[in-house]
Each structure stands twice: as structure tokens, then as C-alpha cells.
């Protein structure tokens, strides 16, 4: 069924899963930027550029996802439930995870837009919340990937695994700049 009364509902699910995929790519590019250095900056520049522009691209899908889910009316989600977690009549817990994700995303976006007007450590602190945002998005998406749509569920699961691997790599990996900084900073300096 492609056209009909469920079109919006299907559109919502499709844009939801695309959002998850794009978000995962954006997160991985961010992880790569943070955890890897090369003597020439070519790949870093591509990663940085795609990280920033794709995050904007993801927004289009995410906003469509949210609007269609509410407007569709198939299930009862209020506009307020988009930002206030756990107040939705329909699946309060799972929609709530989505709402937490939206709140974190807004904070991450606003701080990144204002990055040059705030302290670097404050931006960094908020940007770390991306990992949490991504995780609740995965939970939200995986739990909603209903049994009749195993492909959607599988895609979300795949995103979760790949993102998890990227995060583990980030913890395990290091590079000369960070190592040397840590090493010297541990000496007596005060």
C-alpha cells in the first residue's frame, strides 16, 4: 500500500529510519574527527564538512518524521510531547525517548551555531551529549520498528551496532597529540 490513508504514517516511519541512518553517519564522522589525526588534512576536511552539512540534511528528515507522526492522527501524540518526555498518550515511554533526543539535539545544535560566542569547554560538554542523544534515538527507533517491518528494525539495529563500534573505537584509540598532552600535563605544574 503506497497511497491511502496510511501514507503519512508510512512517511513518518520512513523518514524516521532515514534520520537514524543519517544521524549515525554524522556521529561516526564526528567520532572520526575527534579520534584520528593524519599529517595531511584532506580526509579530515571531508569528514568535517560532511559532518556539518549532513547534520543539517538529517534535520529535514527528522522534522518531516515528527510532523507526519503527529499530523497523521493514526496514533495520539500531542505537539507538546515532541519536547516534553513521557507525556504522550501513545507509547509514553518510547515517544518520551524521542522527545529526550529532540531536546538534546536542540541543545547540541544551538551550541554549535553559537560555538564562536561561547567557551570551548562549554561547547565540548554539550557536544558530548550527542552520544546520549544518539543512544535514545536508537532505542526509540528500534522499539518502534514493529514486528511487521523487520527491515526497519534491522536497519536500526545495524546503526546501533556500527555506532557502538565507533564509540568503542573512540575510547580505545589515541593519537600522538593527545598522548603527549596527557603525559606532560601529569607532571607537576602547580
Amino acid at each position: 500500500m503506497i497511497f491511502g490513508e496510511s501514507t503519512l504514517w508510512y512517511l513518518s516511519r520512513a523518514t524516521g529510519v532515514v534520520s537514524i541512518v543519517l544521524l549515525t553517519i554524522v556521529v561516526i564522522l564526528g567520532v572520526v574527527t575527534a579520534g584520528r589525526r593524519r599529517p595531511d588534512g584532506a580526509s579530515a576536511t571531508v569528514a568535517m564538512g560532511v559532518h556539518r552539512w549532513l547534520s543539517m540534511g538529517m534535520l529535514v528528515f527528522l522534522i518531516t518524521h515528527i510532523i507526519t507522526a503527529i499530523v497523521d492522527g493514526f496514533v495520539n501524540i500531542s505537539w507538546l510531547a515532541v519536547v516534553v518526555p513521557f507525556i504522550s498518550e501513545y507509547e509514553p515511554l518510547l515517544v518520551g525517548f524521542g522527545a529526550i533526543g529532540v531536546d538534546l539535539l536542540v541543545a547540541i545544535l544551538v551550541t554549535s551555531f553559537l560555538r564562536h560566542r561561547m567557551a570551548e569547554r562549554q561547547w565540548r560538554f554539550v557536544h558530548w551529549a550527542t552520544y546520549g542523544m544518539w543512544l535514545v534515538a536508537i532505542i526509540h527507533g528500534f522499539s518502534f520498528g514493529t514486528a511487521d517491518q523487520p527491515v526497519l528494525r534491522l536497519v536500526t539495529l545495524g546503526c546501533g551496532v556500527i555506532g557502538g563500534l565507533a564509540a568503542s573505537w573512540r575510547v580505545a584509540t589515541s593519537f600522538a597529540d593527545r598522548n603527549r598532552r596527557t603525559e606532560v600535563a601529569s607532571q607537576e605544574w602547580s
Binding site: M118, Q187, E188, W189, S190
Partner: protein, 368 residues
């Protein structure tokens, strides 16, 4: 009304800590921004001794200078910075002064290191996007209150200018670099110590106060690790002022002359100093934390095997340090290495032929 800023301005006083920046501009900015004063009495450079000498011998005049600069503000909260555990720290504490104790690290007496330490941070240099006398932020965004750092000798000179007048001050030195200035003379001389000097004097006359340049002296360091190395012949022709030192790639710096012991292999001494400089990087700026160890390795490679290849690597390395740190530590070590390379040319040739038999030099004689 003539203010102290006008007096310092007419006297042409410049900072005696090594940077030689106009003291009038600094003090004026400090007044306008109600900046806190930190007195730098660290003697941070290798061979430096004059800050300790000022504290030990002229503390009341130093405090008079502090009072002139802070305008006698009761809430000025001036801090006196010196290395932890030093005699100067003890003297300052005994005088009831608030001591800012900085760790025994080369870059910890740099002015932004002291400002960082005074703000509860680590004693490591900060990036100066603008002078901290205006206040500002460190790289991570932490707020830094307006702070001015003046060298202990500079403050003593301010009190002297106030007492004795501009004409007295200008009766010393040259028109461009007026005033008396202290100089620490150390190493292979008969009377090490801190001496009064003035710009425009021949270095041999300055050394005469410390017993003269010994006949067997071969190499003389001027300005410590951030300074230069001269041969004895160069020193005999050199004049103690900025143009005179610039001839050899240096400046007057914080006033240090060190006559190297002729029994020590000078190539090895230079190696040790460069290696020390590499180890004193605060590990904050890439070109310093990686560049200085690489410079040290390139210097060692060239001194052990001077050939066109190792020479080229060393020279191209030396060209990579221009202003690429938050502070000037990497520039200083590179300047020293550059001048040591020039001054030690004949010694390095000896190393190539394995003829060096001096202390520390044997390692090379046994090679090959």
C-alpha cells in the same frame, strides 16, 4: 600633573625581564584597567640571578615601585612570584608579602604562566590573543581578570626614577636603551655575581667586574637557553646593547652572561641545554611538544655525525619555529641552537674527525 607613567615614559624604561617592552605602556594600561600586579621575581632563565638579588638587597625600593605602579590602591592584592622553595620565596614570606609560588619548571615563570597560576590554573603559558592587562580568556574560555606582570628589577628601577629623576636614569646607557641594568655573570669567572651595567658598554669591560674573561675561555653564553652563544673572539668585539647583540642573532634578554668551562665539551653542553629545553615543553602546543624533541634529536645526530645530510635536516628544522607557540619557549631554544651551530662550527668539525677529548666529548671520540 606629572604622573609616574609620564616619568617612566620620559625615562624610556623597558621591561628588564627580557622582552624589553615599554614599561610606560604597560603601567598605563594597568592603571586604565585596574589590573592586578604580579611581580616576577623568578629568575626563570638559566643563569639568571638578578631578581633574587633585587629582593635580597633592595626590597624596600622594590615595594616602593609596587606602590607607585598600583597607585597605592589598598585592594591591589599584588602578588610576588618566585620558584617554590627558593631563597627569594623565604625572603618574601618573611617580609609578610603574598608569595605566588611557581613550580621549578622553565616555562612556569613566563608571564602568562604566572597569570594562569594566579587564577587557580596550572603554571603553564596561555595564548595571548590580546595582552592580559585588558583581561580576557584562556583557550578553554576561562575568564582571566586584568593582570600585569612586571619584573622585579623593573619595579626597582621605577622607584629609582621616581627618587632620582629622569636625567639621572638617562645618564646611564644609550639614548635608545637608557638606564642602569643588572647583569648576572656566572660560569668560568673568578667572581660570579650580579653586577650593574648599562647599554653601550663593551662586554669585556662588563666582564672585568667579575674578574675578566679568563684567557682559556672559549665560549660565552648570553641570555641563557633563550639566548645565544658567542666565541671568545666575538665577545671581545661585542657591545652590550640590542644592536650589538643582534649582530649575533640575540638580544640583551634578562641580563645573563655565562662563561662556559673550557674543560667541558661545548658541543655536549649545547646538546644538554637543547635536550633540557625539549623536556621543559609544557606539552600544550604541537610545534613545541614535538618540534623541540625533534630539534634535540637532529642536533644530536648532526653533532655525532656532521655531514651534509644531518646538517640539512638540522637547518631545515631550525627554520620551523617562527612564532609557533603560545609562548616563545620554542623560538628561544631554536635561537640558541641556531647560534650554537654558528659558534661551534670548528668544534663540530673536530667531532667529525673524532678529535674531541674533552669531558663529555669522549663519547664522540669513541664512535666510529
Amino acid at each position: 600633573m606629572t604622573t609616574i607613567v609620564d616619568l617612566i615614559q620620559s625615562a624610556g624604561l623597558t621591561g628588564r625581564g627580557g622582552a624589553a617592552f615599554s614599561s610606560a605602556i604597560k603601567v598605563k594600561a594597568a592603571w586604565e584597567n585596574r589590573a592586578r600586579l604580579i611581580v616576577n621575581a623568578c629568575d626563570g632563565e638559566i643563569g639568571a640571578a638578578k631578581d633574587a638579588w633585587v629582593v635580597a638587597n633592595h626590597l624596600p625600593e622594590l615595594l616602593e615601585g609596587v606602590s607607585l605602579v598600583t597607585g597605592g590602591r589598598r585592594k591591589a592584592k599584588t602578588l610576588f612570584a618566585t620558584h617554590r622553595g627558593s631563597t627569594t620565596a623565604r625572603l618574601l614570606a618573611e617580609a609578610g608579602l603574598p608569595v605566588l609560588e611557581t613550580p621549578e619548571r622553565y616555562v612556569s615563570s613566563e608571564e602568562t604562566s604566572l597569570i594562569s597560576l594566579a587564577h587557580g590554573g596550572l603554571a603553564r603559558p596561555m595564548t595571548k590573543r590580546a595582552p592580559f592587562v585588558f583581561g580576557g580568556r584562556d583557550s578553554q574560555g576561562k575568564r582571566i581578570r586584568p593582570t600585569v606582570v612586571l619584573n622585579a628589577e623593573t619595579l626597582w628601577r621605577i622607584s629609582q626614577i621616581n627618587r632620582n629623576g629622569v636625567d639621572w636614569f638617562r645618564s646611564f646607557g644609550t639614548a635608545d636603551e637608557p638606564g642602569p641594568r643588572l647583569l648576572a655573570i656566572g660560569g668560568h669567572v673568578s667572581r660570579r655575581g650580579v653586577y650593574e651595567s648599562e647599554a653601550g658598554t663593551r662586554l669585556t669591560s662588563i666582564l672585568a667586574q667579575a674578574g675578566g674573561l679568563p684567557a682559556d675561555a672559549e665560549y660565552i653564553g648570553v641570555g641563557g637557553l633563550g639566548g645565544i652563544l658567542l666565541t671568545a673572539d666575538e665577545l671581545r668585539s661585542a657591545t652590550w646593547d640590542s644592536p650589538g647583540m643582534k649582530r649575533f642573532g640575540g638580544g640583551m634578554g634578562p641580563g645573563i652572561i655565562t662563561v662556559w668551562n673550557p674543560d667541558d665539551c661545548p658541543v655536549e653542553v649545547a646538546s644538554k641545554m637543547i635536550a633540557f629545553g625539549a623536556g621543559e615543553s609544557a606539552g600544550q602546543c604541537g610545534p613545541c611538544m614535538f618540534g623541540l624533541p625533534a630539534l634535540s634529536a637532529d642536533w644530536a645526530a648532526f653533532s655525532e655525525q656532521p655531514n651534509r645530510d644531518t646538517h640539512w635536516r638540522l637547518v631545515s628544522r631550525l627554520g620551523q619555529f617562527g612564532g609557533r607557540g603560545a609562548c616563545h619557549h620554542p623560538d628561544g631554544v631554536a635561537r640558541f641552537a641556531q647560534s650554537a651551530l654558528r659558534a661551534l662550527g670548528p668544534e663540530l668539525a673536530e667531532h667529525a674527525e673524532n678529535q674531541c677529548t674533552k669531558a663529555g666529548g669522549r663519547r664522540y671520540a669513541q664512535l666510529g
